[in-house]
Symmetry: D2
Subunit: 340 residues, 4 copies
Amino acid sequence: MSLRIGVLGTGMIGQDHIRRLTQVLSGAEVVAVNDIDRSRAEAAAPQGAKVHDTPQALIASDAVEAVVICSWGPAHEEQLLGCIAAGKPVFCEKPLVTSEAAALRVMEAETAFGRRLVQVGFMRRFDADYRRLKAVIDAGSLGAPLLYRSVHRNASVPAGLYTSEMPLNDTLVHDADISRWLLSDEITGVEVRVPRRSSRGGDLRDPTLVLLHTAAGAIVSVEISVNVGYGYDIRGEVSCEDGIAALPNRPAPVVSDRHGIRQAIPEDWRERFIEAYDQEFREWIVAARAGTATGPSTWDGYAATLVADAALRAVDSGRLEPVRMRGKPALYGTPIAAAA
Amino acid sequence: MSLRIGVLGTGMIGQDHIRRLTQVLSGAEVVAVNDIDRSRAEAAAPQGAKVHDTPQALIASDAVEAVVICSWGPAHEEQLLGCIAAGKPVFCEKPLVTSEAAALRVMEAETAFGRRLVQVGFMRRFDADYRRLKAVIDAGSLGAPLLYRSVHRNASVPAGLYTSEMPLNDTLVHDADISRWLLSDEITGVEVRVPRRSSRGGDLRDPTLVLLHTAAGAIVSVEISVNVGYGYDIRGEVSCEDGIAALPNRPAPVVSDRHGIRQAIPEDWRERFIEAYDQEFREWIVAARAGTATGPSTWDGYAATLVADAALRAVDSGRLEPVRMRGKPALYGTPIAAAA
Amino acid sequence: MSLRIGVLGTGMIGQDHIRRLTQVLSGAEVVAVNDIDRSRAEAAAPQGAKVHDTPQALIASDAVEAVVICSWGPAHEEQLLGCIAAGKPVFCEKPLVTSEAAALRVMEAETAFGRRLVQVGFMRRFDADYRRLKAVIDAGSLGAPLLYRSVHRNASVPAGLYTSEMPLNDTLVHDADISRWLLSDEITGVEVRVPRRSSRGGDLRDPTLVLLHTAAGAIVSVEISVNVGYGYDIRGEVSCEDGIAALPNRPAPVVSDRHGIRQAIPEDWRERFIEAYDQEFREWIVAARAGTATGPSTWDGYAATLVADAALRAVDSGRLEPVRMRGKPALYGTPIAAAA
Amino acid sequence: MSLRIGVLGTGMIGQDHIRRLTQVLSGAEVVAVNDIDRSRAEAAAPQGAKVHDTPQALIASDAVEAVVICSWGPAHEEQLLGCIAAGKPVFCEKPLVTSEAAALRVMEAETAFGRRLVQVGFMRRFDADYRRLKAVIDAGSLGAPLLYRSVHRNASVPAGLYTSEMPLNDTLVHDADISRWLLSDEITGVEVRVPRRSSRGGDLRDPTLVLLHTAAGAIVSVEISVNVGYGYDIRGEVSCEDGIAALPNRPAPVVSDRHGIRQAIPEDWRERFIEAYDQEFREWIVAARAGTATGPSTWDGYAATLVADAALRAVDSGRLEPVRMRGKPALYGTPIAAAA
């Protein structure tokens, strides 16, 4: 009765998803794994799971009903196309793919197949705080959203490994996707401003201020800081015509002691979003059992790719770089109308 | 592989637990039900579950590995003793039993059996906010707890059906249990003070102020208000030697509009504690599969019974009514030492 | 045009009030001082102020229009009676007097005089936070107040000098007065409960939990802790029939750093109530210029004396000790009607 | 002994300052007034104050020691130059002057005089919340400021009278000045972005998003919304290298009722900044009595003029418009060094 899942890529995130699928959630079991490093795959495989030599073999296996892709980004396109060809639901970690052209190829394959099969790993959409924020916006009592502020602060990034492109390529995509989702809107242009650098990051370009312009005319300002030291601090605040709505503090005990009246801040994204990851897979399992996908789509992954590309151009040009999306296939829902 | 569960009592709470066990959680299935109203049992039974004519038949059934008791309080003792006699793990909703003598009989049966089988439904212990609060206290950096304040406010109670004994008999038990658990302490005496009544409740004795005295010398003040109208508002604040720790606001969006800067308050206990109920059963299933119980115990149910009895005496006497517990069986952990 | 003030007692608080009257506020000047230690009076006297040998000489001086009493408590009665005999407005620091009999003698003298001349130094009534809280209660939209919680936490008290009577004699009076004022009610009985002692205070009886019963039937619980270490933390929360209103956090910057999201707590009463002291004297000067007094009255000082006396009895008796006030003279406003 | 003040301009703000100087504060008296509408001046003049026919006559009067300018902006330059020529301290409401050339003329006159005489009415610098925020930044424990967010939300503006230039000309100057002061930095460039308009304001360009670039490389984002309806909501948050500091909520009672857990928002700038205005004049009086000025200077007024000019250019050009200040005269303190 459980959904039989194959996992491609058994690095840190792959291992974590295997743990989630086997120990935390119901309705699923991991029956197959593959990794470029076979010994790592063997170590990560749950008891009874088959270790495949190639992604293609795993995808093709009759024992596998649905696939979770946790391999590195450049491998995603081929694996996604394989899953679509096999008609198997697939959860793909970010990034969906690494180029616009690749995103379009996946989208064309899926639309040709005629049913959604792909869910991209934008887990914030499953976070209870974000969902309640969206519910407030969607209820409409605050009027139309005009401005959104997204704050993305990491405690630290690995010195040397983390480059100045990564805030735009890896981090911004979360803010871009959650903005599109919260505002039910599309991003049409990107500007990047670079303030004085934090001395915590050496030569790293950090922090970064990004402005996203939307089809409806809203402006999203994104503050990305990847070396704040004090914790993992995610904030969101929407200014609507008749009021404001913001993410609350995380529900830590309110302690009064010699450091003041205070609440702890999450240490990292794992602590902050652990329930969101669980919920993300809970809903994916339900959809995958029904042979489809319902969460963030190929279209959303395509949008994120275009925004990241535009942001990288914008940091060089210093100008507003347009995001030009192709027409939205009906498979992915109603298009966003541009503002009158 | 799933735990095969029989449910006794298929009223509102029984139906909710059946939903939880069958639709939300993994690792369990409901294979048998019984209710004093057979048609209600039939309506509540999941597909494939057997409807038993008597609680005894359900408990005795080989198909049933563990039991969930949601019948009314007076029926609990016999059902609990039946489960213990059958050696089957049993989850029992509050109240454990309705008299001290009954609690002692269950405790004696369980200690004679020699392994914990009973878990009582004090779901607050599984709430993430309370758990984080306890973690702060237990960490010890704030010093010993001296005072605890527990606030229990219900939006409303059914007029006519809800009597003036119920705040002490049904509501206080939650505050008493969570206080014992948070402070790792036992209650040794109860005082009740009755202020001016709220005009919202007619003749109902409401609110009520209760003082619980503990073995370690801490004092717990409990404010019970069952007709506040505005929501279900649960608060807790512990005053330790070197600082204070309190439950935070619930994580609702922070909205600024013409009503001010504000966060919504839960409407009822279902909204407030839904995750706690899920977690309660998640952990019970793990323990029950191992043939035992790990959450709130018969000892805790016994303590709650004594506190409610003392509170009812105290409201009449106006005095400090002692809570005299028998010696704590080793099965239920280390006894609390009285303050020097 | 300025009010010409004489100050009796030039210890710490007297010096602070001289500073306030001469450097901070308008409309007043200190023209005379007296202290039991003449050299201290000389050091504290502003330029041009006369140093009197006795309180009586200062009070009688034609140059003095109004008097501020900052001497020690046992000297207050004679000085107050002297001011009333001279028909001069007088501000008197807490305690008004040190016995019920003395309070009655002052009250009789003032009522015989026929106009209010005395203001007692309950500065909390002039604090903006408390005033806004009272405004919410008085607006009536939350319904009648049923319970009030007053929390009074001092960072520390001088070891050895601070005795176990002082939380009831010196500290509780603030909570009692502010409760009477917030609830527009009188206190009719006092209970004291003593939990486990804080190890921070050695043998000191600390913390203390006090219950004040009011004429209208409300119950006030007061948590007094005088050695919390972390700051000066004053809290108040009223439970009304239809909602709750509480003092907010002090408006410190919200800092997010490695200690969490936090706001600083005041270090001591000076930091917490400095604006209240200024406002207290601002309003006193206006009334004194008009030859009268408008703030906390002799009646309020009398009530505080009775509550402190009852609290000291209650800590010994363990019982509810009644507070029996004489009939309220019309000079002090409308009496509080007891609950039906 | 009091500072003898002449007030130029007795409209709404002039009348309010006359009330403040005569009824609230000590150490000052209003001895002369002038207004373009003589009857308005006569109505506003305190008892005993002389009504002058011209600003020049008031400034020249021997009875006037210091001047408060509340006339309309275009009249400021001549009045300021008159005060400087007379060597009299002068408080000037915003705007200092209405063109860069005028600002330079005033600055040259004051520097030629050789002592500061002019204080500009940027009252936010005297607000306790902003001062505590600046204290946190200046303490340095959070590291260098990298980003600052200033939110400026008005409940409403007069339809028809309020034009689309005014958010940049009249409103932004407050955010610009407080940013310069908080960050101890100068603004070197301005960008303006215009999102979708709020339907509350009809054709009004509202809200507006402004980016201010500073000499040290910080970026200030300013959200200006002048028709939010729900209140007057002023926010500030600085992102430093090691942490964040933000203005707190205003200290309104925390009410729990059917609208949630909530705090009231100020209705307008008067309610929000009334204490700041008092403190502004309190400090001005002290400096003026000493024949000089210490608050926001001609240099600050000059900077505000340049920023407003640049903002108006930026809204048309869509580009980063530079702010080019002349060298800072020593009279106005140490220049800000540009970032390396």
